[in-house]
Structures are given as C-alpha cells and as structure tokens.
Amino acid sequence: KREAPAAGTSSDGGAKPLRIAVIPKGTTHEFWKSVHAGAVKASRELGVEIVWKGPLKEDDLKQQIDLVQSFTAQGVSGIVLAPLNDKALVSSVKAATGAKIPVVIFDSDLASEDHVSFVATDNRSAGKLGCAHLAKKVKDKGGAVVLRYQEGSASTNHREEGCLEALKAEGVKILSDNQYGGATTETAHKASESLLLAQGATEGKVAGVFTPNESTTFGMLRAVEKANLSGKLGFVGFDASDKLVAGVEGGAIEGLVLQDPFNMGYLAVKTMVQHLKGEKVEKRIDTGSKLVTKANMNEPDMKQLLRPELDQWLK
C-alpha cells in the first residue's frame, strides 16, 4: 500500500509505473483530442500511465482547480496542466509542488515559477501569422471582422490581439472586434450569423474575418456557407478538424493557423517523464505554429498536422 504522495516520484520507477495526470482545458474540441493522442503516444513510448481528465464544461475554471486539487490529494506522480487562467491556478500548483508533485504547464502560461517547464505555442505570433496573411488578401477590398472567443480566455485573447496588431499594421479597417462567440459551437454559430448580417457581409462590406479557435471557426464557417459567401471573403481561422480542413479545400476558408497539439501533448508528457527521471529540462519549450492554405495543404508536414492519426492512439 502506498502511503506518501512523494513515493510515486522516486526516480527508480519502482514496482508501480509512473502515474501522470494530464489536465486539458476541455475534452471535446478536436484540438484537445490531438493533445490527448500525443500524450498517449508519449506514455506508450515511455511506459508510464496517464490519467486524462478535463473540466466537464469547457472553460470551467473552478472545476479545473478542483481537478488539480483532487489529483494532488490522490498523490499522482506528476501533473501536466493547461491552465485556464494564468493566476487562478498558481496556488493549486504551489500546493501540488509543495506535496512533491511536479507540474508541467502546457498550452497557456502560468504566472509562477513553481512549474518545471512550459510547453506551448506562442499565441500572439500565431495570431500575427494568420492575420498578416489575411491582411495581404484583403488590404484594398475593405474592412475586417474579428469574432472573439470568450471573455477572460488568455490564449485566444493573445491570438486576437496579435491578429489585430497585424491588421492594423497593414492599415486594414477593423469593422468589429467586440463580439464574442461563447463557449460552444452553437453560440458561436449564432453570433457569426448575426455579425455577418450586421456588418453587411452580403453586400461585400466585409472583406476579411478572423476567428481565434476551433469552435468559433466552425461556427463562422457554417455561417459563411449559409450566407453563400464561400470564397467571397477572406476567412482565416484557427485549429483544425475534418470540417475545417474540408472548408480550406472547398475554398470557404482562406487559411487556418495550426498549432501542433499532438506534439504539444507529446512533449508535455515527455518533459514531465524526463523530469521525474531526474533529467534536466528546458524551462520553455516552443511547439510552433503554421499557416495552412489551399496551396500548401498537400505538403507532407502540413498533412501530418491536418490529419493526425488519432485513432491509433485513442482507440
């Protein structure tokens, strides 16, 4: 019977395999599926057990804190966490490290020094990357619209800000940047429909659209298709899923900014294991971002990003 929470962290591996809790921000978005797959890949390669558990409702801060506390109380070997807020999880993470449970942060940063490493994409430059492309496309055709994701979500906020910077730098007029899509696909869809109508997209008053994550991009994609605007306006989204990739193929989406979630999940778990085995790890690990367009989508590395082989890992 195991009695002390620190027992699992002993570097010799012992009789029990390492048990690592991986806490995403949510579980249903495609993005997190890829992270999950990457984490599973790492766990199989490295022979550790992972427990994958996110908040029931996407972006439920309180519940994520509860989860970190629960795993701390359970005494897992380590926690890999994508914090929903950079401040709110500080004390829970401190408590975990205090209980000799190391923490690796991924996807979004945490305002603390307690964690072992931070494994993530640079969201601001990812937003810039997407909107620099968008700006080139729409420069002389008209203004652009940014549909935000949700109040208080730091990573998407950085993308939105990065995007707005890039658009302004090119002198593109911002028609609207204060509307939010909300947590689920259907709220994002309704908001997109209204926004397009409100800005007169059907009369061609909107030249470009940016959305900062999967749910807003999907909601906007359906709205664009319904309004028969496919290909008529420049639309840059974020993250990938089958329907979104089909949107790029069909021309409704000009480009998708992709992070490498699979790699992120993989690296996060791998970093944790390395740390647990006593190896030295980098404080900041960048997982990079790329822009996929119809032109480059068939290149091999893009293909791997677009259609990660998840089934192999998640079945």
Partner: protein, 319 residues
Amino acid sequence: MKKLWRAPWFGPLCAVLAVYVLFALLAPDTFPRTANVLTMARQTVIVSLAAIGMTLVMIQGGIDLSVGSTVALTTVIVARALDGGSGPWAAAASGVALGACVGAINGLLVTGLCLLPFIVTLGSMSALRGAAKGLANEQKVDADPKGLDSLMALPGGAQGGFLLPTGVWVALALAVVFAIFLAYTRPGRHVVAVGSNLETARLCGVPVGRITLMVYVIAGGLAGLAGVMEFSTLTVGDPTDSIGLELEVIAAVVIGGASLSGGRGSIAGALCGALLLTEIKTGSTHVGLPNWVQEILTGAIILVAMALDQWRERGKGAG
C-alpha cells in the same frame, strides 16, 4: 379588441414589437432587413420547439431541465444514424423517437415513483449529457447530412427570399397544433386541470398519471425535433451542444405567461418570449454593443417587459 388586450400573449407580443422598433431605429441599415428577420426566425426555431413542449409541461405543473441534454443527444444520434447509412428521414425520425423515449422515461419516473419533476429531469439532464458524450466518443460526430441540412436552410438557397426555411414552418405548424390541442381537446383541457389543481382533477376522474406521462412524451419528442433542427444547422453531432438551453427555454415560457406552479401558460406567449430573447441578442450585435452591455440590456428588457405586463394584468381586474 378588449379580448386581445387580455390575452396572455399580448404583453410579450408588444415587447417583441417594441424591441424590434427600438433596434430598427438604432440600426436602420441592417436590423430591419428581410435577411436579418429571416435569420432571427431561424435562430429561434430550436428554442421555440423546445418551448412548445416546455409550455405543456409547465402548464401541467412540471418542469423539464433535460431539454438541453436531449437536444445534444439527438444531434449525436442523428449524426451516428446518418453515418451508419440511414436515410435522412429515418435519421430524423430516430432523433424524434429518441426524444420521445427520453420524455417517457422522465414521465414514468415522475408518475411512477412520485418524484419531483425538478429532481427527475435534473438527473436525466446529467445522465443524458453523459450518454451523448459517451456515444460521441467525447468529440463532434461528423456526418454527411444527406439533405437534412436543408431543413434549416433558406429555400432556394437565396438570401432575402421571402419564403421561410422549412424548420420555421414546422415550428409554426406545431405551435398552432399544440395551441389547438390545449384549448380545444379533452386531453388538452385535462393538462390545464391537472396543473391548476391536481387533487381536484384526480377527484373528478381525470387520468392524472396518463396526462402527466403524455405531456413529458410530447415535450421529449419536441426536444428531439429541436435536436434534429440543431443538427440541420450545425451538420455535426455535438455532445456539448445546448448547455444551458433549459434555462433559455424556461425563460421564454415564463416570459410568455407561464407560472412555475402550473395551470398557466401560453404557446403563443412562449414563442414571443423566445423571439424576444433572439431579438435582443441579434439587435445588440447589429448595434455593435459589447457583450456585457447586451447582457445588462437583456436583463433590463426582461424586467421592464414583465413589470409592464404585470401592470396590465392588474388593470384587467378593474377593466
């Protein structure tokens, strides 16, 4: 004229018109356009369908918290059915049937075990959400809509056509059907009687259990249909869809004149309530109000509309 003034849906209808005028003045270029009105109508379909069922349930004296989960589960079922090779009609029918089954289970728990409807549907709300996620492997389920998406599309695909999408017609037709059902049929009047005074209804020989069960089955079936419409809109089965829908639906029904203690309620009123909520949301986007202002506005409009309605109701006694 006086009869109109006294109808329970008169207040909510006035609110809908007043808010329409308000936003038409604030955003004259975009808000009053046909395309926008059509979009609002379409966006109200899902809440409206669920609200018709909820009106029946609430008139009967119950409540149904499981609508949101039922809608989500239905989108998943429809997607899985289509994926598994069903035709569009079979998939839609299986969605509606699923909803009706869910309603039957709710109804049986309420009547058979004498549990509070709030508790029963709270339990099924959670259980169905879990079932939806499990069935969908916790991700969105893609499926070729095989034409089901046309339910919520504008006919002819054209912007600004004057014809409404099929889904809107379906919702309107069902609203009329169930309003007639409530007002002119024996089971319908029994629903009102049970909600008005359950004991008296039982003593007078109304089959209270059967009426209760019926009401939940209808509500479940309509939630299933709302799920089909949701699938038609999104063309994916989304297990996290419609979280919090129950509150929006109940709000629409209560704004439409229902009370939480049964006996009162109006389908026309509930539709107006649903439309009011959509209008405020869309209107705020058109005026370009930030979300937080929109939320304050929504609260304020609900309160003002209901306060005016209350004042009118009180006037009734004296009139």
